[in-house]
Each structure stands twice: as structure tokens, then as C-alpha cells.
Amino acid sequence: MNHLMSTAGWFFIGFVALTLFITLVAARRNRSAQDFYTAGGKVPGWMNGIALAGDYLSAAAFLGAAGMYLSLGYDSLVYAVGTLAGWPLLLLLMAEKLRRLGRYTVADVLAQRFSERRVRLMTTLSSLTITLFYLIVQMVGAGKLIELLFGLPYLDAVALIGLLMVCYVSLGGMLATTWVQMIKALLMMGCGIALAAGVLLHYAGSPALLFDAAARAAPAHDIFLPSHALANPVDVLSLGLGLTLGLLGLPHVLMRFLTVPDERAARHSVAWATGLVGLFFILNIVLGYGALALVSPDAQFHDGAGKLLGGSNMAAIHLADLLGGATLKALVAAVAFATILAVVAGLTMAGASAISHDLYANWLRRGPANEKRELAVSRWAALGLGLAAVLLSTWFQNQNVAFLLGLAFAISASSQFPVLLLALHWRGLSARGAWWGGMTGLLAALLLIGAGPAVWVGVLGHAKPLFPYANPALFSVPLAFLAAWWGSLSRSAPTTAT
């Protein structure tokens, strides 16, 4: 354990030192608000693609997915299919237009059509809610990881992450975030390849032998079919809809299209990101079933009650321990930590921009603010977001991060996506329709999640949920579109600045 702590500790310190150095270098290059928010709009397509993959491959993709294979088998792949489907849709429906219309944030895209302040307010609220929920997911993964490796209490662990993320964003802005994401994406990919190779070597390079062994390790149910958790067809369809469309509303992903020089680079970004994310999902199949076959039957990774040490999110870490001992475990843990830190930085960047640029400068001050003051607000906003995420994550610390991510996607698919899609493709959308659609989707998703099993039962401790389905998207997404359509039909006043 001491060896592990020292090895993991050195990896952790090394990564933090490297990324802080990068942040300081980036900070010197930030001379304007455009540099801070969008890295000057000069990031090449391939670099942005790797950073996009880094933004997207979060704690849920690494820790949560392997944990879900271990506990629920094939369900993890059901999640992966939906989330990957979002990438081509993002390219075909949004990427180029976002680049063409956007300036600093998603709200700027809508502001090109609607000058009403309430539309910007709606988009900002929506962005902040999604960002905060997504941040909670990352914090849960980070907290558990550090708790397991160093024995730090959960709250101390997430506070450490919060402090680092505030440093990255407030000092380095989007350029530092981009570089950190790239390094992290490549590290994560290397780690995934090493682990998958280790698993396959264990089974003479044969995936068929691996699947046989995984099936033998879990004889009670068919691990290659959806589990009992996906037994309800409405829940499955709702999950699929939320996962597929959720990507198209994630602020930290959409903001990345504002960092490239043109639409061609925006398209290339998505191709790179889809390839990398898809490759990682394939590696995850090997890792997940490898964990099922190797970690699941091994008593050393379970407590007296038979539960996995550190919870199901730690399956990949235990797999690394089994394949390569303490050193590989420490390396994988450090990469997982880097993953979380980088994603958290990207999310905080999106959230802080929404607060400083949209809420403060354009909504509160009703126009261009002093650039220095706006950036100062952004830095304070990063701190506030960090604190909020740390505290809120304590409520959700015992839930699977992949499942929690599904809920974040559902909020995104219900609030941001419908309004953006209609704004980019439907001339008939009015400011009133945008406001109605966005707010209806956001409130419906939040209320249904609050009344559903995750919060009503999992957090508040009630025996039965008020809303029976785990994912709200099947209801909240159509409601948002309906409200946007109805609001646009019933418009009575022209869209003017207020």
C-alpha cells in the first residue's frame, strides 16, 4: 500500500506539475477576451478533435463504463452506442453553423437571431445546470478515486480537485484547457490500449476466450444481453433518446467549435473526436468484460460483504492492479485522475464563460462590459462553480457515474438541444418559442429527475419514486419541442431588444 501510495503520488504530482506549467505558459499568451474564451479561434481541427475527445471521455467513460460492465454487463455498451450516435448528428446538424454563428458561448449563437435578453438568460441557466450536473459526475469519480488510493476523506478529495480546476481555468483559459485535454486524451488512450492488451494477452489474444471467461464469471444472468435495469422498454427508449441527443446540447463540447478557424476545421474536429471516442469504447468492451472475468471472482478486491472495494467505479483500477501490480494501478489511477481534472477544467471553463460573458456582461450589464472586469468575473465564477460542485457531489457519491452522466445528457437533450436545433434550422422559431422551449425542457427534465428513482429514492431516501422512469428524456424532449412550437405559433410581438 505504501509503495502504491508513493508511486501513485509521484504520478499525480507529475501530472499536476506538468499541467500547471502548461497553464502558466497559456496564461502568458492570453491577451484578450477572445484568447481567454476561445483560444483566439486558432486551434487546428486535429488538435481540437483530440481535445473534444478529451472533453468527452470523462470519468464516466473510463471508470463508470468499466464499473457498469462489472455490475450490469451489456448495459454499458447500450450507453456507449447512444453517446457515439450523437457525434455524427452533431456534425451533420450543428458543428458548421455553430462555427459560423458563434463568438464566445452557445448563447452568442442564439443572440444572432434573438436579441431578447430572456433568451440569453434561458440559455445561460440551461448551460449552468448542465455544467453543474456534469461537474458533479466528475467530482464523484474523482472523490472515490482519491479516497481509495490515498485514504483521503471524500470531501477533502473533491476539494483538492476543485482547487486545481479553479487554477487551470482562471489562469489559463481555453488555451490551457485545450492543451490539458489533449494530453489527457492521449494518456487515456494509451492506458486503455495497455489495459486491453493486458486482458487479451491473458486470453491468448482471443476475444472469444475472454467472452467465455466473462460468461463463466457471472453464470446467474446473460451478461451479453441488457440487464434487469433495462427491462422497462420506456426507460430504454428514454435513455437512448437522452444519450443520442444529449451531446448536441453540452456547452463545453459546443464551445469547442468556436476555437477553430473555420467550418472545415470544425468538421475535421468531429471526425477526429468520433474516431478516438469510438476506439476508446471498443477498448472499454475488452476492459469491462476483462474486469468481469478477472476482478469479479477475485476475493482480494472485495470486502467482507462481497462488495467491490471502492465501489463499482473502481473496477478499472482493480483490473490494472491485477494485470500489472501496484505500478500499473498507480499509473491508471493517475490517468483517471488526469481525466477527471481535464474534464472538470473544460466544464468549468464553459460554466464560467456563461456566467461572465452571458449572465454578467450581456444580461446584467446589457452590453459589452469592460474586458478586464468580465474576465475577473469569469475567474470568480470558476471558484463559485467549483464550490457548488464539491458540495453537491456529496449527495450523489454512492451512485454509478455512468448512470449520473445519463441524467446530465437528458437535461442537455431536453433544454439546450431543442432550442439550438430549431434556431439553426427553423425560420419559424420566435424568441418567445425559444424561451418557452428551453425553460419547459429544463424544468421538465429537472422535475422528472427529482421525482424519479435517482433523487427521490437514491438521495432523499423515499421507498418509491413519484416518477417511475430513471431517465426523463422521452417525456421532456418532446415537451420542449412542443413548447417551442406553441410559443412560436402564438407569438404576438416582433423580436426586439429589451
Partner: protein
């Protein structure tokens, strides 16, 4: 390689329908995913096929030159 502008919506439909069909099978007929092909579970082979389709669509469109022109009927 040339992909015309009309391909965009068609490709989006292809991706959307494929995803809908997959979740429809998972929801209503998960048994269709049982069995094996060359030692690989059918459910995994189907997911891998979809991964390939999604990446293929993205690659095809991103390499297209025709899409560089501004979109006609841009709602802006």
C-alpha cells in the same frame, strides 16, 4: 470524394434511424441480440457495426468539399 449538400439530412436520418432501431430492439426484443458469430456475442457485433457506421458517416461528411459553401436558407 464528393458528398452533395443533400447528403447531410439523409445521413442524419440514417444515423437517427439506426440508433432508434437499436434502442427499439434493446427495449422490445432483446432476445434478437442473443447468440454468437464466430465466438463474438451478436449483441457486441451489432454495437461494433453501429460504431463503424457512425464513424464512417462522420468521416465521409468531414471529407466532403461541397459542404464548405454557406447553407442556403440559413435561418439567420
Amino acid at each position: 470524394m464528393s458528398v452533395t449538400r443533400i447528403s447531410g439530412p439523409l445521413l442524419a436520418c440514417l444515423v437517427g434511424l439506426s440508433s432508434a432501431a437499436y434502442y427499439g430492439v434493446v427495449a422490445f426484443a432483446p432476445g434478437w441480440l442473443s447468440g454468437r458469430i464466430a465466438g463474438i456475442p451478436v449483441s457486441i457485433a451489432v454495437a461494433l457495426g453501429l460504431f463503424l457506421l457512425f464513424f464512417g458517416v462522420t468521416l465521409l461528411y468531414s471529407l466532403a468539399e461541397a459542404a464548405d459553401a454557406p447553407t442556403e436558407g440559413d435561418p439567420r
